[in-house]
Symmetry: C2
Subunit: 412 residues, 2 copies
């Protein structure tokens, strides 16, 4: 099956908001074996919208439109669909009852504009929107099917899962299933080089590498009759990739590095605490974003000044004077200091120069030390990150998390 995605909205066309719906839908369509040949963004313009819908219905089996279902005159996707298919608009009693119920619940009265949201091209089936006032619709026309969905992702996505995905799966001659393997600690080009042979020899499943901010993933996608057969094709490739990347693989699918580390600490019943200088709260913030992290995370301190490093962590004034705040020695004392003062099993610390100012010839911007204190022993690593202020901070936080992950697995 062949599909086109049309996203409607002047705010998309002007670039005021980024079009995340198209990529989201494209990924979802791929999983049910539907090929997307085109994404289109058009504004709230009646004639151009009609042309776009007509062309899309000519070239494709399935068309998915998002946006332009609101109550105002600017919202005209349904009218454009009616005209593209030469249908009249008619009020749908079911959609009207959804609207009335929603407005009653919230204590509002329907305005004349709101009644427009119950109008649909004749023959269209309205689709219930549990998260907003605009219903979507499905229209079968000339052996094609077109769906109109609301623009906000939190309304559009549940409706796709509820109404569209099951239909497409039932029409598809097979399923596509993907597994993402998450890798850290290997550069993008080395990783592609290392995996080249298995990438090239595969056609089903396919293997696609993606790089993102110091992390990397391989997406393995198989097409088969059913879920189980697809997974049977994927399994040997997972094994091959595991053989190549070993401990650099930290997780699968939606795993995050911080969640993996928190889980390992929970399993081992270990507590930890964080001392941050250049990362300035970013690492703690990653940790706290994992629900349940409070069971292992005792506290964090952001010791941005020397005074604070001395007072909060007991870093030696002499060490700061002779080596400077950005040094192996200070990183080490910070890690020990935070573990001891927080009474935690593990102390981890960062100190570095995030830039754009503050660099020198011997200590350039991007120089960062990361340290872990665990079992009476400190490990310190020196890094040189070539990135923006925010990039240096993010990479430092990720690197320290990865050091901790490896330490807990006993592979560092």
């Amino acid at each position: 099956m062949r599909a086109e995605i049309i996203c409607v909205g002047t705010e998309l066309l002007l670039g005021d908001i980024i079009n995340t719906n198209a990529s989201w839908l494209a990924r979802e369509l791929a999983t049910v074996g539907v090929s997307v040949y085109k994404h289109l963004v058009v504004g709230d313009n009646h004639n151009r919208l009609i042309v776009a819908i007509k062309n899309a219905l000519e070239d494709n089996d399935v068309v998915i439109c998002t946006g332009g279902l609101g109550p105002t005159q600017d919202d005209m996707t349904k009218e454009a669909l009616a005209q593209a298919c030469q249908l009249d608009m008619a009020q749908n009693p079911e959609a009207l009852s959804w609207l009335e119920e929603r407005f009653n619940r919230n204590g509002y009265r329907l305005t004349e504009n709101n009644y427009r949201q119950a109008l649909f091209p004749e023959g269209a089936i309205p689709l219930y929107n549990p998260n907003g006032s605009a219903p979507g619709c499905k229209l079968e026309y000339d052996n094609k099917v077109i769906y109109l969905l609301p623009g906000p992702p939190r309304e559009m996505q549940p409706m796709f899962y509820e109404f569209i995905k099951p239909y497409l799966e039932s029409k598809s001659d097979g399923v596509l299933r993907s597994v993402n393997m998450r890798i850290i600690g290997v550069g993008e080009s080395s990783a592609e080089e290392m995996a080249k042979e298995i990438i090239n020899k595969q056609s089903n499943p396919t293997i696609a590498p993606y790089a993102h901010f110091g992390e990397l993933s391989f997406r393995i996608t198989a097409k088969a009759e059913d879920e189980k057969k697809a997974y049977d094709l994927i399994k040997p490739v997972i094994n091959d990739i595991e053989k190549i990347f070993g401990d650099n693989i930290y997780g699968f699918d939606d795993d995050t590095l911080e969640a993996v580390v928190i889980k390992e600490l929970q399993n081992k019943r270990l507590t930890f605490a964080i001392a941050e200088s250049c990362t300035g709260g970013l690492l703690s913030s990653y940790i706290v974003n994992v629900p349940g992290s409070s069971s292992v995370f005792k506290e964090g301190v952001i010791t941005y000044s020397n005074e604070s490093k001395i007072r909060r962590l007991g870093v030696n004034e002499e060490t700061l004077k002779s080596h400077g705040a950005v040094s192996k020695e200070v990183a080490k004392e910070m890690a020990i200091g935070i573990a001891k003062t927080a009474k935690a099993d593990i102390g981890i610390a960062t100190t570095g120069i995030a830039g754009p100012g503050g660099g020198t010839a011997t200590k350039p911007v991007g120089l960062v030390y990361t340290a872990i204190y665990y079992n009476n022993c400190v490990t310190v690593e020196e890094h040189q990150f070539n990135s923006s202020r925010e990039g240096v901070r993010r990479r430092s936080a990720l690197r320290l998390l990865d050091m901790l992950r490896r330490k807990l697995k006993g592979t560092n």
Copy 2:
């Protein structure tokens, strides 16, 4: 002038990367008075690419394509352009010398594939790419102009500024200039209601409201002969909006709330320190992301546990027992405690329930207290945020920053 944006790439089409180029280009084209009627995403498919380019050249004065200029067989945008315009491909000596120079500098030899990057449709002018190996090109055809640019934003954007923007400005009958006014502390719908009258009466400049995560901005855009005249049109609207929103306006254009607060602290020569519970380092992380923040930010602590609140901040054990960690009283003691222990002029603190677990009937998820200690006086606010874990944390951090901003201005 009328333009279309075509973004080429299978990874875009499959949704593996989000199309940020289209929205970036659309915003830039708006500033030079060019109207964009369509964004298109197509894969690396020869025939579909030819059709897309042909249609775009028929309907528009300017076409901008990004992507598909790399050295591999998958990269076929230039060949598609040549075929769409019935031109031959020819090696361009200047582009070849750029490639040779780049490869020599990096100590590599050109492979056969790389030579493809010096081939262009006859009559096209190659455009130098300082940040990558793929040159772009410009082709004038049938009174239209089409630009091909590389896909990576860090290569594409500087080339747009260097080669395309000046050309479009020279062709435009005027300039469009925008000013963004940044507002916090007013809900989206109330803000639109408050500004309704002035939004409706304007046609040049136009006024567009945008909401984003607890913040809001109004973009005022004027079209005029030159920059000065555009600004003369914008100025009275700024005054009108200032009259309506007063102290809720925290800045203009690229100002961030955190940078505005840091600057005000620097001006007043005041230092501050942060105690975070539910925000867990996020607020400190915003602060540290502002270059130069170290002159006023003394330190932060993330006192996620009760133990840590007592030990690091001197919060009273009794207060924790009788009121609970998420309470007005504990927020107050945290703010005082962080100011005193950090020896800072100002102490700010958050404590709350970010969810998804941890809520009760009397203290539901989303309940957050924010506190400021300054001049021997504590202000505490209670909030109920209805959002995800991350949303609750972000809104809490923004709200506390805004409280501090108002306190420093003497308006809270």
